[in-house]
Amino acid sequence: MTVKKRKKTSKGLKYIISLLLIVLFLGGAGFLYVSFLAAKVITKCQGMKWEIPSKVYSAPVPIYPGLDLNAFGLYEYLKDLGYRRVKGIPKMPGSFFKTRSLLFIYQRSFDYPSAHIDARLVKIYHKNNVVVKIVDGFGKSTLSRLLIEPMEIAALFGNKREERYLVNLDQVPKHLVNATLAIEDRRFYEHGALDFRGILRAFSKNLLAREIKEGGSTLTQQFVKNMFLTHERSLWRKFNEAIMAMILEWYYTKDDILEMYYNEVYLGQKGSVEIHGVGEAARFYFGRSVEKLDLDQCALLAGLIRAPNSYSPYRDYQAALQRRNLVLKTLFELKKITRSQYEETVRTPVEAIGFSYGKAQAPYFVDYAIVQIKDLYPRKVLGSIGLSIFTTLDIQIQRWAREALQEGLNKLEANHPSLSKGGGLQAAVVVIESSTGRILAMVGGRDYATSQFNRVTQAVRQPGSLLKPLVYTAALIEGYSECSMLEDKPVHVALKDGTVWSPANFNNKYLGEVPLIKALAFSLNGATVRLARELGFEKIYDLAFKMGHPKGRFRVPSMILGACEMSPLDIANLYSVFASHGLSCSILSIRNVLDREGNRLHMKRIRMKEVLDPSVSEVLENILRCATMYGTGKGLSSYGFAGAAGKTGTSNNERDAWFAGYLNGYLAVVWVGRDDNAQIGLTGAQAALPIWGEIMKKINLGRPSKGVSRTSNLVRRYICIDSGGLARRNCPRKWEGIFLSSDQIRSLKRCPLHGWPSFRRSYRR
C-alpha cells in the first residue's frame, strides 16, 4: 500500500471513531436526560401528586320546628353561602324559593363529619316564618331537623392557590369520559403517547389555514404539560413533553393516566383561586358530586377544558352554550348518545349554581383555631393534605360582633376625637355558649389587615373590677346572703412585703353600711376588700384557681380588684362558670377534623366539670342582674332586653374598659383600650357596655335561648337594695333576692329607710 492510501485510511478511521464517540456521547447524555425525566415523572406520580388545601368551616346551621327563620337570619345565611333565590321550585342545588307558608331549599351535597349528604330538595312548612314541619323531597319523609351546610371561612393553601377534589376514574360518569375523549382526544385508547395521525392532521390543517388552528396533542401530552412543564410555546418544551408522555405511557395504564388527568385539568377560576379537577369543578359549577352529573353538565365540563375562562357560564353564557352543544353534537356523531338524547339535551339551558367569593369572615378566629391543632398539623402541612376542619363559629353572631365592634369604636372616636389619634382605639370581643364552652364569635381587633395581633387571646390587660364576683362568690359559699351588711369605708391592707395597700372607691365616695348585693352591683372597692379580708384572701385565690384563673403570680390581695393581667378569653373562661351555673367547660373552637376521604381524624367532645355549687351561682347571677338593672351596668336597660347578668371593669387610670356579661346562655366579653396602653379616660360602662349591648340585642332576637330553665328550689323575697331589708311598697329600688336557705331570711326585717315608720318619725319631729 502506498503512503497516500495509508494516510487516507487512517483519516477515515479517525472520522468513524470520532463519529462513534459523538454518537456514544450523545446517546449517553440522552439516556441520562431521559432517566432524569423519568425520575421526575415517577416521583411526582407515585407520591403526593397534588397539594390539596385544607378548609376551615363554620358550624353547620340547624333548622328545626319552632325556629323563627327571619329572626334567625336563615335567608341572609343562604345568600352568603351563594344560594340563589329563584322563582318556582328549585331545580338545581344551591337555590331556594320562598312563599308565604313554604320554603324550598335545594341543598348542595356536603361531607358532614357524621355523614355525606347528597344534593337534595327539602321543603320547610312555616307559619309567619316559624318552622312547622320539614319534609325531605316532595313529602317522602319528615325530618326532625335539617342541617344547612357550614360556610367555608378559610382555605389554607400551600405554594399554589388551587382547589381540587380528588376523584377515582370509577366515579367519573361515562358521559363525561366520552365527552372528554370526543372533544380532546378521540383515539386516546388506540394510540401511544403520541398520536402521529393527529399530528399530521393538525399540521396539514394549520398549513392550509396558515395559522395554528388545531393542536395534535394527546391527553397524555396535555397532562404532562400541565403537571410538569410550562405553557411556553417552544420546540424544547414540545420535545420534553413528548419524551415525558412516552415515559408516562410506559409506566402507567391509559386508565391511570386518564384518572390523573381528571384530577389535574384546569377548569376555571374563583377569584384568585384556580379550580382543578372534575371533582371540584362539578361542585363549583353544579353543586353536586361528579358521579351525579347529567349529560348536559358532562358536556359543559368537557367543553371547558379547551378554554375554561372563555367558555365559563359565569363569564359568557352564549359561549358556554355553543361549546356545550358542540360537544353534544360530537358525541352524537360518534354515536355515543342517541338522537333523542342529543335533541333533548341540546334544548336545555346551561345552568350553573353561582358562587360567592367568601370574604374573610373570621380571620382572628381562624388563626386561633389553627394554633389549636398546630402540634398535630403544622401550618405548612395544612396547605397540602386537604383536611376539613369544622369549627364552632356561628357566622351570624360573628358578623354581629364584628359590626358592633366597628360601630362602637367609631362612635366613641366621634364623641371623643382625641381617642382617634396615635393609632386609635382598639377592642376585642369573644362570644361563648356557656353550657358547652363553644366559641361562637371572636373578633381580635378592629382590622385584621392592619394588625393580626389577636387581642382576644394575646392581649393580657388588667381586668379591673371584673374579678370582684370571686370575692362575693366566696362569701356566698361561707353563708353570706344578698342582704348581709358590709362596711364600705376606707380600708388599709398590710402586705407581706411590709407595705400597705389602700384601695379607694371610684370618686373617693363611701356609702357606709351597705347590703352585699349593693356592694357588688355598685362595685364598691372598700366593701369588697373588707369582705375579702374577713373571709381570708387565700380562700379567694383557691376559689379563683378552681374556677380556672391561673394560680401563682396572682396570689396578691390586689388581684381581687384586677391588679393582674388577663386576656378576654381568660375572663370568658372564668365567667362561663357563672353563666353555666357552676360548670367549667373546656373552651372549644374546633369540633371535628376530617381527612380528604372524609374519615374523622379528631373530634373534640364537650367536657364539663362542676366547680361551683349551682345554687351559689344562681344567687350570684341574681346579683349581677341587679348590677345591670341598678348598678354600674344600668346602661343596658336602653337595649330593650331584661335579665342580663354582667359586670363592668375599669383598670387603674382608665386604660382598659371591660364588660363581661351573659344572657340566655350566651356569654360575651368586650374589652376596649389602646395598644400603646395609653389612657382612654372611659369606664367599662361608657366604652365596652354599648358594644356588648348591641351584640346581645341581636343575639337575643336572632337566636333561641340556650339558658337553663328549671324550677329553682331557692327561697325568693323582695328586698330593698339600699337597706338590705325586706322591701316595702315605697322602696325605690326593689329587687327579688334569692337566698340559699330560709334561715337567711329569718333575721331580715322590713326596710328601715323607706317605710311609713320613717315617715312617722319625721312626722313626730
Binding site: P62, Y64, P65, G66, L67, P113, S114, V130, S144, R145, E433, S435, T436, R438, H581, L583, M603, R605, I606, R607, M608, K609, E610, P614, G665, P704, S705, K706, G707, V708, S709, R710, T711, S712, N713
Partner: protein, 154 residues
C-alpha cells in the same frame, strides 16, 4: 284460745321485722327508663320535641353499640337545648359505656340538677352517679347516693 292468739300476734310483731331484715338487699344502680316514662320540666323551648327525637335516635345507636355516633347525637341534642336533662343523662350513660367514668359522673350530676322537680329523673340520675362513683372506687360516696335515691323512691 285467747292466749294462743295473743302469742301468735306478739310473735308476728317480733318476727316480721327480722324477716324483712334478712332479705338480701340488691343494689340497683339504675334501670334505664323509657323516654316517655318520666314527665319532664315544662318544655319552654321550641326545640324540645326535636331534642327528644334526637335522644331516641341516640339511644338506638347506643343499643347498637355505636358509641361515637351516640355521643355525636346526644351532644348535638344538648347543644340545641341545654335545659333538657335527657341528653345530659344519656351522655353520662354513653361515657360510662365507653369506660370514662369521670366524664360520666359529671354529666350525671348535671342531669340530677336539671331534673329539679322531677323525682323520677332525680332518682335515675342519683343511681347513675352512684354507679360511676363505684366504678371510680368511691364506694362509701356511692352508697350515700344510693341511699338518697331510695329515700326519694319511698
Amino acid at each position: 284460745m285467747r292466749i294462743i292468739l295473743n302469742l301468735l300476734f306478739v310473735s308476728a310483731l317480733f318476727l316480721a321485722p327480722l324477716m324483712t331484715g334478712c332479705a338480701k338487699k340488691e343494689i340497683h344502680y339504675y334501670s334505664p327508663p323509657s323516654i316517655d316514662f318520666a314527665p319532664l320540666p315544662k318544655p319552654s323551648l321550641p326545640h324540645y320535641g326535636t331534642t327528644q327525637k334526637m335522644v331516641i335516635n341516640g339511644k338506638e345507636m347506643l343499643e347498637k353499640g355505636e358509641i361515637e355516633k351516640a355521643l355525636d347525637i346526644f351532644e348535638e341534642a344538648y347543644t340545641l337545648d341545654p335545659s333538657n336533662p335527657w341528653p345530659v343523662f344519656y351522655l353520662s350513660k354513653t361515657w360510662a359505656t365507653k369506660g370514662n367514668y369521670e366524664e360520666a359522673r359529671e354529666f350525671a350530676k348535671r342531669a340530677k340538677w336539671l331534673f329539679s322537680d322531677n323525682r323520677d329523673g332525680e332518682i335515675i340520675s342519683l343511681r347513675q352517679e352512684a354507679y360511676c362513683l363505684k366504678a371510680l372506687g368511691y364506694i362509701s360516696e356511692s352508697r350515700e347516693l344510693l341511699e338518697k335515691a331510695r329515700e326519694l323512691e319511698r
